[in-house]
């Protein structure tokens, strides 16, 4: 654990299922759960571009939310730079940035810039500094020209970019991005990938935790990769080693560890 930026041990999470009224009457004391994580162990060394891949419903977003203090685990431990995400929540919040996969998470009737001003204040930036920082991040994600348009006029790609801009506002050590290139055009997507890897990791020495469905981008920009399936890490390693320096494709390996039967989505419902 000592040198790892992110470290988890036997992390488990189950969400309660909302009961129908009929169930409530029939089995009042039985609660049903979805097991999202079934014992996750990962270790992410410093200054790494770490990619997490896995089928829909495998638990990627859940893991990210636990590591960013938005969801509480049922069992196990998780640390960011040695700080427990449950017991040292306030401290951990100062160490992590998150670009939520949810594109909506802004105020619809405010402009992009007004939204960022609001969040910059919550990150504790004084007014002048906030202004400067906002210009920087807007420039970076290419939204400078559209910054004064209302958020509800943004395309889904622009919304995602604004989410990334917000995640980059605070000076943090670890940046979590959940499918950051999902709705971006090819050039913008490439720009963001380069930024995450070359600027944040290689130049600034930060750690990026990147959930993705795009194996090509992971092959090109990821340093470490973990495959998650059915709430468990199936494989973790250096991208170069796993692919024999590009001799094998990541897709090949992925297929080896993930059954393509959509079991993730339906088969997880367990009783507790």
């Amino acid at each position: 654990m000592p040198n790892n930026v992110i470290w988890t041990k036997n992390l488990k999470k189950s969400y309660p299922l909302i009961k129908s009224y009929r169930d409530l009457i029939r089995h009042p004391f039985q609660r049903n759960f979805i097991q999202a994580l079934r014992g996750i162990d990962i270790a992410v060394p410093p200054q790494t571009c770490f990619c997490l891949v896995g089928p829909n419903g495998a638990g990627k977003t859940t893991l990210i939310k636990i590591l960013t203090t938005l969801v509480l685990p049922n069992e196990g431990e998780a640390f960011i730079l040695g700080h427990d995400v449950v017991r040292e929540e306030a401290l951990v919040k100062r160490l992590v940035g998150l670009a939520i996969a949810e594109e909506r998470s802004f105020y619809w009737r405010l402009t992009g810039r007004q939204n960022l001003e609001f969040f910059a204040a919550l990150y504790g930036f004084p007014h002048q500094e906030a202004k400067k920082r906002i210009e920087e991040v807007l420039e970076l994600v290419g939204l400078t020209r559209d910054a004064d348009k209302r958020f509800n006029t943004y395309s889904s790609g622009m919304r995602q970019l604004l989410g990334l801009a917000r995640a980059l506002l605070p000076e943090v050590e670890v940046i979590f991005v959940d499918e950051p290139t999902r709705s971006l055009d090819p050039q913008m997507a490439e720009k963001i990938r380069k930024f995450l890897r070359h600027e944040l990791v290689d130049r600034q020495g930060k750690t990026v935790f990147w959930a993705s469905h795009n194996l090509a981008e992971v092959e090109a920009y990821g340093q470490e990769v973990a495959i998650i399936s059915k709430g468990k890490i199936q494989l973790q390693g250096r991208v170069k080693d796993l692919t024999d320096n590009g001799q094998r494709s990541l897709f090949e390996i992925y297929q080896q560890y993930v059954q393509p039967n959509g079991e993730e989505l339906s088969g997880l419902n367990g009783r507790n």
């Binding site: 938005l70 802004f106 405010l110 969040f119 504790g124 605070p170």
Partner: protein, 269 residues
């Protein structure tokens, strides 16, 4: 670090959102006007006939307008803060707020600001319209008393708003707590009629509702020109309510937040 600027930005955020529904302001102005007019005509029927009412100066219109104007504060806190939390849950902004290092109490205070200012303005507009259009007559106003009572009322209802927001956080939909509290307050809190007309056991129920004391005190200070000493029972009651409910509501919200993080209900799923 969490400066007044942070709070101001919260206020601005909600003001902007509200301003984009400009018609709403017009509607609420009409709402105030219509309800004032309705009660103005009703009061033509019943003023001066009631023993109980004579304790408040004998005019039903001035009695009820104070009730209407200030019970609005209650509605706004019941609907304002929980509404903001609810939409933050739906929009996904709640997670974005909670991942910032801003303390929860600041987020709650900030989110309460707009509903607060809005409700104060609404009360003032209602009283103003009544003065100008319907010939409302106030006594020699005890300003200090009125402001003190109003401040304590707001503190109390802010806590109730936070309690109600906690409910939303965990159960996502529907808020029977707020609904029940609102209906009880409207019926037994002395909004439309003096609680003295209620039978004894129901009067006991009114004595548990903070609004009873707010309205009684405000009527004393706005209509009856009573000095500060005469307002002491109401001030005392509201002090007790705010001292109890303030910490309780923050505690309950903290617990609710924890539960929401356990159940994954910070965002609508």
């Amino acid at each position: 670090m969490w400066t007044t600027r942070t709070l101001w930005l919260f206020f601005k955020r909600d003001l902007w959102e509200a301003l984009s529904y400009k018609l709403n302001f017009l509607f609420s102005l009409f709402g105030i006007l219509f309800s004032s007019a309705t009660f103005y005509f009703i009061s033509q029927l019943i003023s001066g006939q009631s023993e109980v009412l004579s304790k408040y100066g004998g005019n039903y219109f001035s009695f009820v307008i104070i009730g209407l104007a200030f019970s609005g504060v209650l509605n706004i806190f019941q609907e304002g803060l929980p509404g903001i939390i609810r939409s933050a849950q739906l929009l996904g902004t709640l997670e974005a707020l909670l991942i910032t290092p801003t303390p929860m109490a600041v987020i709650l205070l900030g989110s309460s600001l707009y509903p607060l200012v809005y409700s104060v303005l609404q009360s003032l507009v209602q009283i103003g319209l009544a003065l100008v259009i319907f010939g409302l007559k106030l006594g020699t106003v005890n300003w200090l008393g009125a402001i003190l009572l109003f401040g304590l009322t707001i503190l109390t209802y802010m806590s109730i708003g936070i309690l109600s927001a906690s409910f939303i956080l965990v159960f996502k939909l529907g808020n029977p707590f707020s609904w029940a509290f609102g209906s009880l307050s409207a019926l037994f809190g002395g909004v439309f009629f003096p609680v003295a007309v209620l039978p004894g056991w129901l009067r006991w129920l009114s004595s548990l509702l903070p609004i009873t004391y707010s309205l009684e005190g405000l009527r004393k200070s706005l209509l009856l020109s009573l000095p500060l000493e005469a307002l002491w029972p109401e001030i005392k009651a509201l002090l007790i309510f705010s001292f109890l409910l303030g910490p309780l509501s923050l505690f309950v919200f903290r617990v609710a937040l924890k539960k929401a993080k356990k159940d994954g209900t910070l965002t609508h799923y």
